[in-house]
Subunit: 311 residues, 2 copies
């Protein structure tokens, strides 16, 4: 194989109650990378399309390529690669944009070189890309983007990640308002201490969401999509948050919260029709104050990254 | 029916990571109550056996009978009842002693009067008994004692309780050392604030324990039986805690922690043989410093309270 074109999905992290531990993958949008082997060693970023020139072109500073550098060093390869990245989602959007780049990069190079590592073994590399992009090696976006499905990060040290089965009729509505929140800022405003009372509430909702998903109990999923710790703080960074959330719930969503660090918001619904209706009313709610949006409706993507083309 | 004799099981609350939200029921020990209808109104405690005279004999101050007073008031009955309570577990033991009394009391009176309320409707009454006995209306012991199985209290306000399926081969070892911890003290020493980092760790373990139980993944159950919030504080009240816990793990237990507020300790194991071996080594570890113990090995009791005899 001399050429590969691959895709990795956007993701919703936190999922209301599961700050830093829950995330799931979407069918769309997602980043696409094209890799072509070079005769000389070294990684070159040939082009990045769709980032409005905002991402670094130096291989060691871009999430898509830094993971490849680490990977090549790990397997002791001097293979040279030319990279073209198609950014299909906005930066700093709360949709796991940098994670999709890290994952598509590490997935594609592993495939291009004959799959020396398993998918799970790629996770620490993808997390390293996340560290370059946002300062901390979180796994709640790269985990689901790489592994597909609904992913739980039980522990970071040692890294312990598992998947949870979700109901077939579960659909996600993701709405991106055209305002930007810096992930580092969104983390900065969080308090370092949580009341024991709120910790207990959040634990109850975490248990309820996992059990609700696994038991296909949509009502329990709905009751458990409550975040008493992060959402009350971060939602102040998102204009019209309360209004948009209420619109989603009024349209039949099981629950609605911030996607990752925001400003994107997500809702879960039973059935595609409801999820489409929720997308419409959430977008209208943002639109009522003049904020334009882009929305996506998708099942939970069970596959993760995929090969689109090889040569 | 003029007479009923009923049983309600001891319970393990908290279950390592699930402070105030997790609990499960045991096959033994458990409290037994005998109720006999009286011709005159009013509740009389005729006898309490096994409490060494330490429990109050006034009906409005004892967990077993205060729940009956609330129940009779609720259904508008003036039925008189004579109560005999057999306490089959030590007080302040962390085995849900007061909860077993509340549950057996409310269960028995409901049966005696022709079951005017469903089992679930009895829960708030049993919680009221818990308030009398230990100052707060917790549900992590009365919930499993009344409903059987592994119970999650997702929320206290509104009360939202659900059950989680557990693997068939899951066995509990419960070891009661002959030292006493007052539940009010055990709660008093807890900090009111938790670091966000520890909250995230605990949430990961809560998710892991629920998924591990439901997926019958014993290894995930084992990895998730970690409590970074409560156990480090409360374990200092239990002599030889670290030593006893290590003995349990060395003997093959999946995990080991404090049962409720202690001083009893519990372990979960795969299979009865392992659970029996764990009971032996935990008891020996307490015994090495001259502390006598009583131990119980049991599957998770799925039934909750039961009628033993009627007339």
């Amino acid at each position: 194989m001399n050429y590969i074109k691959a895709f990795a999905p956007a993701t919703v992290a936190n999922v209301a109650c599961g700050f830093d531990i829950f995330g799931f993958a979407l069918d769309e949008p997602g980043d696409i990378v094209e890799l072509r082997k070079r005769d000389e060693p070294g990684i070159i970023i040939k082009d990045i399309i769709g980032d409005e020139g905002r991402l670094p072109r130096e291989p060691e500073r871009n999430a898509v390529s830094v993971v490849m550098l680490k990977f090549l060093e790990h397997i002791g390869s001097t293979q040279g690669v030319e990279v073209t990245l198609h950014k299909n989602m906005p930066l700093g959007s709360g949709m796991g944009s940098s994670s999709a780049s890290s994952v598509v990069g590490i997935f594609a190079i592993n495939e291009l070189l004959g799959r020396p590592l398993t998918q799970r073994e790629l996770l620490p590399f993808a997390m390293e890309g996340e560290r370059i992009a946002c300062g901390a090696a979180h796994a709640d976006n790269v985990g689901p983007s790489l592994l597909g499905g609904f992913v739980v990060i039980r522990s970071y040290s040692p890294l312990d990640v598992f998947k949870v089965k979700v109901p077939d009729e579960l659909y996600c509505t993701l709405v991106h308002p055209d305002v930007e929140v810096n992930t580092k800022d969104a983390r900065y405003i969080l308090r370092n201490e949580v009341s024991l009372k709120n910790t207990i509430s959040q634990m109850g909702n975490v248990a309820g969401l996992i059990a609700g998903l696994m038991q296909e109990d949509y009502d329990l999923v709905s009751r458990s999509m409550v975040d008493v710790i992060i959402e009350p703080v971060r939602s102040i960074l998102i204009p019209e948050f309360d209004h948009v959330k209420q619109a989603a719930l009024d349209s039949g969503a099981l629950g609605c919260s911030i996607s990752g660090a925001g400003p994107s918001m997500f809702a879960l619904s039973r059935g595609r029709d409801t999820a489409e209706r929720v997308a419409k009313t959430m977008s209208e709610a943002f639109g009522s104050v003049g904020i334009t949006t882009k929305s996506y409706v998708s099942q939970i993507n069970q596959q993760g990254p995929k090969v689109l083309e090889t040569a």
